[in-house]
Amino acid sequence: MQAKSVYKVPNGKLLKVFLNYDEKDNLIKSVSITGDFFAYPEETIEIMENKLKNTLLEREELLEKIQSIIKEYNIEFIGLNAEGLTDGILMCKT
């Protein structure tokens, strides 16, 4: 299932997520995280997209996974944060 969300992160930038997910298992097949935010180092967004494959589309688990990737790769977001990204991804489903 292909879906898209457009989400203005509170006090942040405009996040646009393109999501391909498995409806039956509720798992992420692939995700493209786009928008006018900043992330340092920039290349870590591609790592984030890859690591989110096969993650369950459930708030707590998704947020935890995103936070752990941010920590592991030392990602600094400006205009975006873990909660905003989680909400943007989950919004694709509604």
Partner: protein
């Protein structure tokens, strides 16, 4: 004696050349081959640059670009889509370790934007930096900026609007919802402003560049000495243009 930085005035170039020059200077500076560098430039043909994380097709009307002979390029910096036509674009490349550059990214935006605020003041324009990455005059945006840090080196580039045509801009950019296109355009017209509009007179690129040069010199207490790209930087520019900014893979990657 004041510290001397290099000033580049590279004139008007295509989107891919402009982005390749910034990256070439970044690499040369990270290898300690050139001093901190401030560059002023323009775009010919007019071009749209999109932020590193943006989706090209989502943000840019590619058919309109073709129709109006407007170029497009993906930047290595985050941030939003910008239509570069009647403006002065600057870039600054400087080691992260330079004492004048705050370690904190947001603080360093403020510091570099401070140079632009001082430059605008020389033109008789009051303005201020508003986080995350804007400079506003009378509450309206006159400059947008974007920064990256690679190989312990800071690259910040941004635009200072000399004149602005919001209708043309929106014929080239896509809007999230066609139903509210007219309202969106009306809103943006209220939210942006150009040097020409504030001063109520036409003003040339050179006059703006001269003011910005002073702004950078004052903010960082340095002397900007006009220079040229080194042979190595020119070669790197060609390389980045053909391998990155001029390629379909790079520009369409999202």
């Amino acid at each position: 004696m004041k510290e001397q930085w290099r000033l580049l005035q590279t004139g008007f170039n295509t989107g891919s050349t402009n982005m390749a020059i910034d990256r070439a200077v970044l690499v040369a500076n990270s290898e300690d081959k050139i001093p901190p560098t401030v560059r002023f430039f323009g775009w010919k043909p007019p071009a749209i640059s999109i932020g590193y994380f943006q989706s090209l097709k989502e943000e840019v009307d590619l058919d309109s670009c073709k129709r109006y002979s407007v170029d497009y390029v993906r930047r290595i910096t985050g941030g939003g889509a910008v239509f570069h036509e009647n403006e002065l674009t600057y870039s600054i490349v400087i080691p992260e370790s330079h004492p004048e550059i705050p370690k904190n990214i947001m603080e360093s935006y403020g510091r570099i934007c401070g140079a632009l605020v001082k430059g605008l003041k020389h033109l008789g324009i009051e303005s201020e930096y508003i986080p995350i990455n804007d400079i506003v005059s009378g509450g309206r945006k006159i400059s947008g900026n974007a920064q990256t840090r690679k190989s312990r080196t800071v690259l910040q580039h941004g635009t200072i609007l000399i004149d602005v045509d919001v209708d043309k801009m929106f014929s080239l950019l896509r809007v999230p919802d066609e139903k509210i296109r007219d309202k969106l355009i009306a809103d943006v017209k209220q939210r942006v402003i150009s040097i020409k509009h504030v001063l109520d007179r036409s003003i040339g690129f050179e006059e703006v560049a001269a003011a910005m040069k002073k702004g950078f010199e004052e903010e960082f207490n340095v002397e900007l000495v006009e220079g040229i790209l080194t042979d190595e930087e020119k070669q790197l520019t060609k390389k980045f243009e053909s391998e990155c900014f001029g390629t379909w893979e790079w520009n369409h990657k999202k």
